[in-house]
């Protein structure tokens, strides 16, 4: 994303729309710090520039990753799904991606509002998690960036890319879910960002939630608000 200095009037209307504070002012004109810009398009979509000075320049690999992870309406062409992750639990009534006895994890790195995150920080977490032998979701855009899904290591040329947030998705047996959360707690001190943790579980016939019980018993209470996929989807 670029601001045309010849068109900018210096009104500063665009500045507050940047989630990572990449828009600054210099000599009374707005400019975008390309090191920080995540290509999320929020400033452009906001349509607040009175002279249309903001425009999207062509972006090549690996910078293009920034847009995939940061722009909510960008579509990851390999899966046809918009946004940073997969359909995860949302369509589990159709895909059965998560079966009884399995637990899914979504580690949303940089969220909420950490001011952006380098993929190098994401790499620290994915490599620690990989040591536990988890299966990274093959449809997740981040998994595509791994040099090796066994080690969780991201490709060298993407590590310095800066994004609003990125989601690590994987699944494990239910019996391993407490160990995963303990590991995430240990990693907490070693990362220079925040991450939000989501845990996916099937609901039993009696409406109990096995992962919730296991986590509660281990001293990791789940928050009272979350997502519930209903039993309405089907393939005709």
């Amino acid at each position: 994303m670029i601001i045309d200095g010849d068109l900018c009037t210096g009104c500063e209307a665009c500045c507050e729309y940047c989630p990572v504070n990449a828009i600054g002012m210099d000599a009374d004109l707005a400019y975008i710090d390309l090191e920080l810009c995540t290509e999320c398009n929020n400033c452009l979509r906001a349509d607040v520039c009175p002279t249309d000075a903001i425009f999207q320049n062509e972006i090549a690999w690996p910078r293009s990753i920034r847009n995939i992870f940061s722009d909510p309406i960008s579509v990851f062409k390999e899966t046809g799904v918009s946004g940073r992750g997969t359909e995860e639990s949302k369509t589990n009534d159709v895909t059965h991606r998560f079966k009884k006895g399995e637990v899914g994890f979504s580690i949303d790195v940089g969220r909420p509002n950490a001011g952006g995150v380098k993929l190098r920080e994401v790499d620290k977490i994915s490599r620690e998690i990989a040591k536990l032998g988890v299966s990274f979701d093959p449809d997740n855009p981040l998994t595509y960036l791994m040099a090796d899904t066994k080690t969780g290591k991201l490709k060298e040329d993407v590590l310095d890319e800066f994004v609003v947030s990125a989601i690590i998705e994987f699944k494990t047996p239910l019996t391993q879910c407490v160990e995963i959360v303990k590991t995430l707690e240990e990693i907490s001190d070693r990362v220079n960002t925040v991450f939000s943790v989501g845990v996916i579980s099937r609901v039993e016939e009696d409406w109990s939630i096995p992962a919730q019980i296991a986590l509660q018993d281990a001293g990791f209470p789940v928050r009272p608000q979350g997502k519930t996929t209903l039993n309405l989807g089907r393939c005709d």
Binding site: C15, E16, Y17, C18, C40, N42, R45, P72, G80, V81, S82, G83, R84, G85, T86, E87, S89, K90, N92, D93, V94, T95, G104, S106, D108, G110, P112, N113, A114, V164, I167, V181, L184, S188, V191, T193, V194, F195, S196, V197, G198, V199, I200, S201, V203, W207, Q212, R223, P224, Q225, G226, K227, T228, T229, L230, N231, L232, G233, C235, D236
Partner: protein, 207 residues
């Protein structure tokens, strides 16, 4: 995408916080899904939601009309609607259930409230995605009043700076809390940001 998870309305506020998402599954039942999702959009619109969008196209507060959205909806559409009370949530879910379109439906909100609505209308939960909250360097987080508003856009497009400026505008009476809430919703393309709750938050922060 986990964009409706991890909302942090941890302040006393008038109104509940529910979201409905409805979509096809890519590669399974997405062929021709656009027409079904249009029906869902119309059904949900009839329940007077606080926000409504197709996240590929934007929504009522991003400058799109319902007509425009319906005319441009694709098979990979995501219908998103926000509510501040369970009676309208119930109404919408009942209508979707009766239409029996075979699309996946997700409800985000307090589990105990959402489950009781499901029981009342004879629907069953299949899978849950639960939040364990925030880990890592928490000192990077904004204060809880800002988070309460910003986390309603899980993609981070309602920025801290914008919320702070809006609080100032409401304080200075340059705009009402209601207008402020609606303006903040303008950068959430998914329809999951609730402008009514944002207005409540602005009112409370500025009183």
């Amino acid at each position: 995408m986990t964009h409706t998870l991890h909302r942090r309305l941890e302040v006393e506020i008038k109104g509940e916080d529910f979201i409905i998402l409805c979509m096809a599954t890519q590669g399974y039942n997405d062929k021709g899904a656009g027409e079904k999702l249009k029906k869902v959009y119309k059904l949900v619109a009839s329940t007077n939601p606080d926000n409504l969008a197709d996240d590929n196209l934007g929504g009522r507060f991003t400058g799109r009309t319902d007509q425009e959205i319906l005319e441009n909806m694709l098979d990979r559409a995501y219908v998103g609607a926000a509510y501040t009370d369970r009676s309208r949530l119930k109404d919408a879910l009942e209508k979707i259930k009766t239409a029996d379109l075979g699309m996946s439906v997700v409800v985000t909100g307090n589990y105990s409230a959402a489950f009781s609505v499901l029981k009342e209308i004879g629907l069953k939960p299949h899978t849950v995605n639960m939040s364990l909250g925030v880990f890592g360097k928490k000192e990077l987080l904004p204060q809880k009043e800002i988070l309460a508003v910003s986390t309603m856009c899980g993609h981070g497009m309602v920025t801290k700076q914008r919320i702070e400026n809006m609080i100032e505008d409401v304080k200075q009476k340059q705009c009402s809390a209601q207008d402020g809430g609606e303006k903040l919703a303008s950068t959430c393309t998914c329809g999951i940001f609730n402008p009514k709750l944002a207005a409540e938050m602005l009112k409370q922060t500025t009183e």
